[in-house]
């Protein structure tokens, strides 16, 4: 039995296939035809970039945009003038052959990476090694792909580069093991995305097994059993069966209409931070989107997002969700972030300060741009809009006044918008919960933002180590405020949802159902477990 670092959970019983290091022979041969050598090198660079572009696309499809970004970094490294020029200089000035030049320059940079103390940054050396291997392979015409013919294969290697992992045939490879690596290495991250078990940092696994050996991989404990006996096989076969049953049970719930045993229809929706996230929500059978955070549109850039840009993102989500409800939250950002195009004050208490609806009501043009984009997109699906951090009725009414202004502008231009948009608010400030019955007379719905509601109610910063223990979703005060909110809303026939973490909390769900919560919105991965719990109540 061998142990390593668990990189991805799951179980696998399969046959070993060892991926050997590609041996590329580097000679000290000096070259006379500099131009040809230079051209050969530059051609290899272009070939490598083209291969990486393809891998990037492949990865985006099978693993999502974020994983594909790794290849973007690789491409940028190949475009790094210092790297390229250093190699060319070796060829031109020292008559070194291209292969050796690449190897030399690369080693120099890799050494610098490996000298970094920080583990995460040190891991980036793996990226450089990956592209170096690719360059050299292209130069020698040896760019081979690791072909797997059989099924139930456990790939074992010294290390798996992002390119290797991206090309693993998910149908044939059921797990992988490596000598080196950590939870933050690219291959570990990819394993989790591919949802196959993986154990890394095992030390010498690649020399401890050979092709054809049978292994049991326990991705939960990071254990690997080589050529197991019958007893061990039986134990793990049982574990696999149980785990698969569990997953299957959950999968069944995907298309289920969630109802309590008494027959009440409860909506289980997903929280998303960017448009692409909806795929996971749909896959997990979400009844809709309970929270579409719009901050992503405003971050990461020098200028505010245009109406067009915003419109496209909102339309994309609305269209993809069809007739399912999509609740979009207006800009919820403040002084804890710095946006170059927004003059955000440096406050002592940014979380109690100029942010969210307060900022929007003050920066009218910015707010109107978002509202217009939302109104225009509303014809493409089932839209509900909510304002964050509402402390009282006046704020909601002020926001709605601006909404009316936008509607009039669109009317004048003949641009259509849906007449069925719901306008609601987040309940996260205690004052709003306490005055819920007043607010309920004016809004179409509430969505309880428990993360902030709990912090404001208990006066605690959940990120502050010394006091985070005080953060307690089940504190009687919190529960009373939630009940107050739901009662207030139902008194006037309005629905209440919850988009904070508590909505996916196993211990909280039964109580929330009892209180009458109409909609639970959470991260996609929590949807099926939540459905299961609700259906059992």
């Amino acid at each position: 039995m061998k142990k390593g670092i668990t990189a991805s959970k799951g179980y696998a019983i399969g046959k070993v296939m060892v991926k050997s290091q590609q041996e590329i022979k580097i000679t000290d041969e000096s070259i006379s035809d500099i131009e040809t050598e230079k051209e050969k090198f530059l051609l290899a660079v272009e070939e490598s970039k083209a291969q990486l572009e393809k891998l990037k696309e492949q990865a985006a499809q099978s693993m999502g945009e974020e994983q594909a970004e790794i290849f973007e970094t690789h491409i940028m490294m190949l475009e790094d003038r210092e790297f390229i020029d250093a190699i060319i200089s070796e060829i031109e000035n020292n008559h070194v052959n291209a292969l050796k030049a690449i190897s030399q320059v690369s080693s120099f940079f890799i050494a610098q990476f490996e000298a970094i103390e920080d583990e995460y940054l040190r891991e980036r050396a793996a990226d450089l090694k990956d592209i170096t291997n690719r360059l050299m392979a292209n130069l020698t015409g040896n760019q081979t792909d690791f072909k797997i013919e059989e099924e139930n294969i456990v790939v074992v290697a010294h290390d798996l580069t992002p390119s290797d992992t991206a090309q693993l045939d998910k149908d044939k490879v059921i797990a992988f093991l490596t000598d080196v690596g950590s939870r933050t290495s690219h291959s570990a991250i990819m394993a989790r995305t591919l949802e196959i078990p993986a154990v890394v940092g095992m030390g010498d696994i690649s020399s401890s097994v050979k092709n054809g050996d049978m292994v049991i991989v326990d991705g939960f404990t990071g254990t690997v059993i080589i050529n197991p006996g019958n007893d061990e096989l039986e134990i793990y076969k049982k574990k696999i069966k149980e785990y698969q049953e569990e997953l299957k049970e959950l999968k069944k719930l995907v298309s289920c209409e969630t109802r309590t045993k008494a027959g009440k229809r409860i909506y289980v929706a997903g929280n998303i931070g960017k448009p692409e996230d909806i795929y996971q929500v749909i896959e997990n059978g979400g009844d809709g989107i309970g929270l579409f955070r719009t901050e992503f549109l405003y971050m990461d850039r020098d200028t505010a997002p245009s109406e067009e840009e915003q419109f496209e993102s909102y339309r994309f989500v609305l269209e993809k969700m069809g007739d399912k409800k999509v609740v979009i939250r207006t800009l919820d950002i403040g002084g804890d972030k710095t946006l170059p195009y927004m003059d955000l004050p440096k406050e002592m208490n940014p979380f109690l300060g100029y942010r969210a609806i307060r900022l929007c009501l003050d920066q009218k043009e910015l707010f109107k741009t978002q509202l217009r984009a939302l109104l225009r997109a509303s014809v493409y699906g089932n839209l509900s809009v909510m304002f964050p951090m509402i402390s009282g009725l006046q704020e909601f009414l002020a926001a709605m006044k601006i909404v009316e202004e936008c509607k009039k502008e669109l009317d004048v231009s003949g641009i259509p918008y849906s007449k069925d948009i719901e306008w609601g608010i987040m309940i996260e400030i205690p004052a709003a919960a306490i005055c819920a019955d007043e607010l309920a007379q004016y809004v179409d719905f509430f969505s309880i933002g428990t993360n902030d509601l709990i912090q404001y109610t208990l006066a605690v910063d959940r990120m502050s180590e010394k006091v985070s223990y005080i953060y307690n979703p089940m504190h009687p005060a919190v529960l009373r405020l939630i009940k107050m909110t739901i009662d207030g809303a139902h008194k006037y026939g309005k629905w209440v949802g919850m988009c904070g973490e508590m909505a996916g909390d196993e211990t909280a769900i039964p109580i929330l159902v009892e209180y009458g919560l109409d909609e639970f919105s959470m991260s996609a991965s929590s949807i099926l477990p939540a459905k299961k719990i609700i259906m059992g109540l």
């Binding site: 210092e82 970094i116 940054l121 980036r124």
Partner: protein, 87 residues
């Protein structure tokens, strides 16, 4: 030549994603852009340089811009770094 002292706020330091954003932005300017850090001079237009410098969270660096658009470069890049380079 103009310069500015800045503190890096990214939780994982200048790793691949923020470093890529910084290099892309710096490459748009004509000026030479360098970072002084622990007696090293880092060429900000080179991704490998920036990554291998191993700049972690909380590090104070000096951004130096030298060239015809140095003022604009300094302002833009300083703001980018101070705001977390898109994280």
């Amino acid at each position: 030549m103009v310069k500015q002292d800045i503190v890096v706020v990214n939780k994982s330091g200048l790793h691949a994603r923020p470093a890529s954003n910084l290099v892309k932005a710096a490459s748009k300017f004509k000026s030479d852009i360098t970072i002084l850090f622990q007696e090293k001079v880092i060429n900000v237009k080179s991704l490998l340089n920036v990554l291998s410098a191993g700049i972690v969270c909380g590090t104070e660096i000096t951004l130096v811009c030298d060239g015809e658009d140095e003022q604009e470069a300094l302002k833009t890049l300083t703001e980018m770094i101070e705001s977390g380079l898109g994280e």
